[in-house]
Subunit: 231 residues, 2 copies
């Protein structure tokens, strides 16, 4: 039986924009596991299987519910140990945390200052009311103000990608010649941005953009086929 | 025969402050290899064995000269493959590059804005003349101006350590339960700073400081024994 996964969606059911859900979908594909995704909206907290913490991704595998993208990656690695590793060993797994922590403290906070309002534009009225209230309280300003200076912010955002840029201009993937979970973690953030925003966060000649292209090509173009903006 | 290594020194021969030399010394200790270091000053370009590019570390192992800390790590890993690995496999080796690139584009550039002038204070007159001329040309300002705003810069520097902080507050080392080369790369930067500056770059309760303490304890206190400031 295929694994099922609750996957954050916009007004269009096929527009999937959670960076954490993209991590999980790429990890499932890496393991060669079939998945049936169920579109899920911000305000559908009651529709998730138990246990959950009101967020996606949540997967159900043969009756077992696993929530949180990191827990899902760990679950897949252990439960499907005979398939291609997501981490490449103990050192790879530990170092994955550094890439993940960089993604969550630098990359995603940088991107959200560029694309937050674009999320709002892609969700339905009920979700919009929730999203505006929740995020404006969290960030202490309006959605519009939060991204109002995104043009002048862009050079600093692009500069903040230097650790990633220098890595993927010297090797095909963050994890070396082939992608592993660290690539999916960082890619999830870029796929989130391109799923909901036409704002070009990467310059045309940026090695990070070339790496993103290699990620989009994986698994028969899994992420490239999904509704999104740009290449 | 012990490996010999040319190691950047200050006026005091035992004050060793190159972050790249510390990477190499920690890597040699990790492999359990004895090393005899030769103090080397900025202006002693002619004293290095050939080939070199005028910088340290340079090691000589049984007549073979290897320069550049990354090349030295790769050399040690291959030439002493039967000893404890520096990378923990192919994925670990690839992901090491990300930590290294973060160190070289975020950590070291952040630290140099705090401690550059302190290097000047620890080197002899001939080195001082070279260092001031070379660095003032490179940075386009005086050494004094370059670090003149280090107090107001400190909060942003400490914030920039978030990827490292979040990693080492959840596991003992960047590389997991035991240190590997990525730990030595990041540690080299902090050891450089504390070797030549009494400016407290880390708050007392910072998890990064606790990790630095664990690094100082390694190999019988190899780095803790060296002349430096603070704990």
């Amino acid at each position: 039986m295929a694994i099922t996964m609750y996957d954050l969606a916009g007004t269009e059911a096929e527009r999937r924009f959670s960076p954490f859900c993209w991590r999980a979908k790429m990890a499932l594909a890496h393991k060669g596991l079939a998945v049936e995704t169920t579109p899920w909206r911000f305000t559908e907290k009651d529709k998730l299987p138990q246990p959950n913490v009101g967020r996606v991704p949540v997967i159900v595998d043969d009756g077992k519910v696993v929530h949180d993208s990191t827990a899902i990656a760990d679950y897949l690695e252990e439960h499907y140990a005979d398939r291609a590793s997501l981490f490449g060993g103990a050192a790879g797994r530990a170092l994955t945390r550094f890439v993940q922590n960089w993604t969550e403290t630098v990359l995603q906070p940088g991107l959200i200052r560029l694309v937050l309002l674009d999320i709002y534009r892609h969700i339905g009225p009920e979700d919009q009311a929730y999203f505006r209230r929740d995020r404006e309280q969290r960030f202490g300003t309006t959605l519009e103000n939060f991204v109002g200076d995104r043009e002048p912010r862009l050079p600093a955002f692009r500069a903040s990608l230097d650790p990633l840029r220098r890595t993927v201009e010297r090797q095909n993937f963050i994890s070396g010649e082939a992608p592993l979970y660290p690539d999916y973690v960082a890619f999830g953030a870029f796929q989130w941005a391109r799923a909901i925003s036409d704002f070009d966060v990467l310059a045309a000649d940026d090695p990070v953009r070339a790496w993103r292209g290699r990620m989009l090509d994986l698994f028969g173009g899994l992420a490239r086929r999904a509704p999104a903006y740009g290449d």
